[in-house]
């Protein structure tokens, strides 16, 4: 027992010990303070590296041409670095994925919140969490072997590797994100809201639609934004199932090349220091800012919501 006690502090060790002690304490505190800035350091490092490695491109290609150019021919001579087809590729698959993950994710959250028995909830919540941890490469693998052939047969198109397949697979992947954050938001709604609604004679459905969902609306929209952020940044799945043509898509049956898959697919063949290399970092910069905006929006909304319901700590 005695051994477990901390050594006696300053008074026993005398004046010299006191200085030594406070010196040690202070050093440790400073060390921890410095280490605490690691995240900031890495975030700043990422921004710095993305800028540094993409800026050389713009001495040769105009920013306007890069952002709105309609042709992505990085390996042609002369090369053309118009990133619009890639941006639109990301937009198409993201919108498509939202159509899948928003209703299913929110529906799942509502089920867990309103209909599931205590036992079902106890099973469903960890299951959803575990499913959220399935690696994206596994989703891509599944999409390539199962969803793509299915889509190809169903719509009788030449290849199943297209925006539609990517949307479906990404949508399934994002369901756990949307479901678990929405469910959190629903469970934060004070039970007094519910009781007041019942007391006024509303049934469970009316209470859910007219009281609980509006009260949790900002939390639910946060979940959708974070789901969207995950879909936009997802790489391996789209790399495997979206087809990979860098042309402006005209329909969901077209093969697309979203920004992430362009980086992943082309970085291996781009010579370090070439325009192509810099252009891929510039795409990374665009991606970084898109997800930064999404996350900031999600955080702002959820902060507001916590204040509104009196949950701010």
């Amino acid at each position: 027992m005695k051994a477990a006690l901390p050594p006696p502090p300053s008074k026993v060790t005398g004046g010299g010990g006191e200085i030594l002690y406070s010196f040690k304490e202070r050093t440790i505190k400073i060390l921890f303070t410095v280490l605490a800035f690691a995240s900031l350091f890495f975030l700043a490092g990422i921004v710095f590296v993305l800028f540094k490695e993409s800026l050389p491109l713009f001495s040769e290609v105009k920013i306007f041409h890069f952002l709105f150019g309609k042709h992505w021919y990085p390996t042609y001579d002369p090369a053309d670095f118009g990133v619009l087809p890639l941006i639109l590729g990301s937009v198409w698959v993201t919108v498509g994925a939202l159509v899948v993950c928003v209703p299913l994710g929110i529906g799942t959250a509502l089920y867990v919140y309103e209909l599931a028995s205590a036992r079902q909830r106890q099973i469903l919540k960890p299951v959803i969490e575990i499913l959220g941890g399935i690696p994206s490469i596994v989703y891509g693998f599944f999409g390539m072997l199962i969803v793509a052939p299915f889509v190809q047969k169903l719509f009788n198109i030449p290849t199943g590797l297209c925006a539609l397949t990517a949307s479906v697979v990404l949508g399934i992947m994002a369901i756990p994100t949307v479901a678990s954050i929405s469910e959190d938001a629903l469970s934060f709604v004070p039970s007094s809201f519910r009781e007041a609604s019942f007391a006024l004679g509303a049934n469970r459905w009316q209470t859910l639609i007219k009281v609980i969902i509006p009260a949790a609306a900002s939390g639910i929209s946060t979940s959708v934004i974070l789901g969207m952020s995950r879909v936009v940044g997802e790489t391996m799945t789209v790399l495997m199932v979206s087809g990979g043509s860098a042309v402006i898509p005209g329909s969901f049956f077209d093969s697309v090349r979203p920004m992430t898959s362009a980086i992943a697919a082309e970085m291996g063949e781009a010579a370090v220091g070439s325009n192509h290399y810099h252009a891929l970092f510039a795409i990374g910069l665009i991606l970084f800012f898109i997800t930064l905006i999404f996350n900031a929006a999600a955080e702002m909304i959820s902060k507001k919501y916590r204040v509104k319901l009196g949950l701010d700590r």
Partner: protein, 288 residues
């Protein structure tokens, strides 16, 4: 009046039916992914598959080097991120004066967590592979993955530290322990299960990530095992990708990809299940 209440009842039934349907569809999708990979992959798995090296240009043999590679990368990532993440959590929870500095740190943690994994790959390529000259190696890949899991480790550690009752700290300080002694001998030991949960979940995440190691560590084919932290490695997730997109004999490569996917999925599912069990046990021990 009666008509209206009947209408309300039908609406309620219909609404609940749609909700139930959506949870069934969700579970159907997710369970079928797992089922498919387990059934198709199972026939490929054998002792030889787990312990031998790939042969005949990736069309036969096992995936042992990829398993070993994933193990090295993951351990490296945790070795890098755990001390850093824990220190950050201790600072935020035990030392930090409230104020804008803490807000900036919190904001940067949240934003780092949202950065797409392929962007971490770009960062690792520019900094570790090129600038620091580590090359395409276990070291570069581990550091890149370490930064990727850092926010998750910080959040989990912070949550664990926050769950340690104030009275424990006060008791230790009242016994004359300094703040650092209190943190080291009472607070952190009490938070170990929660920190472990976070670390285990991060291991699962790091093991499955592909995009960050694409340009920093992974290689499709390597003769034998890595012999230093500066070697390129094979890794399970990248191996699946390469088997599906490279090579010339898809009919021979797809079964190997199924087997690799099964191993990866089994590792990740097992890891998260363990973490969740630890967490539930630990949480219930604090409910009075």
């Amino acid at each position: 009046m009666i008509n209206k209440s009947l209408k309300n009842k039908i609406t309620e039934k219909l609404g609940f039916f749609i909700i139930t349907l959506s949870v069934i569809i969700t579970l159907f999708f997710l369970v079928s992914i797992i089922y498919l990979i387990f059934t198709k992959g199972f026939s490929v798995i054998s002792w030889e598959f787990l312990t031998s090296v790939p042969r005949k240009g990736m069309t036969a043999g096992g995936v042992a080097p990829a398993i070993v590679g994933t193990f090295y990368l993951t351990v490296g990532a945790v070795l890098f991120a755990l001390p850093l993440g824990l220190a950050c959590a201790v600072y935020l929870n035990e030392y930090s004066p409230k104020g804008y500095i803490v807000n900036i740190i919190r904001m940067s943690i949240n934003n780092l967590a949202g950065v797409p994994s392929v962007v971490f790959g770009l960062f690792g390529l520019a900094v570790f592979v090129k600038f620091l000259g580590f090359g395409v190696s276990i070291l570069s890949g581990s550091l890149t993955l370490g930064i990727l899991i850092l926010p998750a480790i910080i959040s989990a550690s912070q949550e664990a530290l926050m769950a340690v009752p104030r009275s424990i700290r006060e008791a230790s300080l009242a016994l004359g322990a300094t703040q650092w002694q209190t943190i080291r001998k009472t607070v952190i030991p009490a938070a170990v299960p929660g920190i472990m949960t976070g670390v285990i979940l991060s291991v699962g995440r790091a093991a499955g990530e592909t995009a960050p190691i694409l340009f920093t560590a992974a290689t499709f084919y390597k003769r034998g095992y890595p012999n230093s932290i500066f070697s390129e490695v094979m890794a399970l997730p990248y191996h699946i990708y390469a088997l599906m997109t490279e090579g010339t004999k898809p009919e021979l490569q797809t079964p190997i990809a199924y087997g690799s996917a099964l191993i990866l999925l089994a590792i990740v599912l097992l890891i998260s299940a363990i973490a969740i069990i630890i967490r539930n046990k630990y949480r219930s021990s604090y409910v009075h």
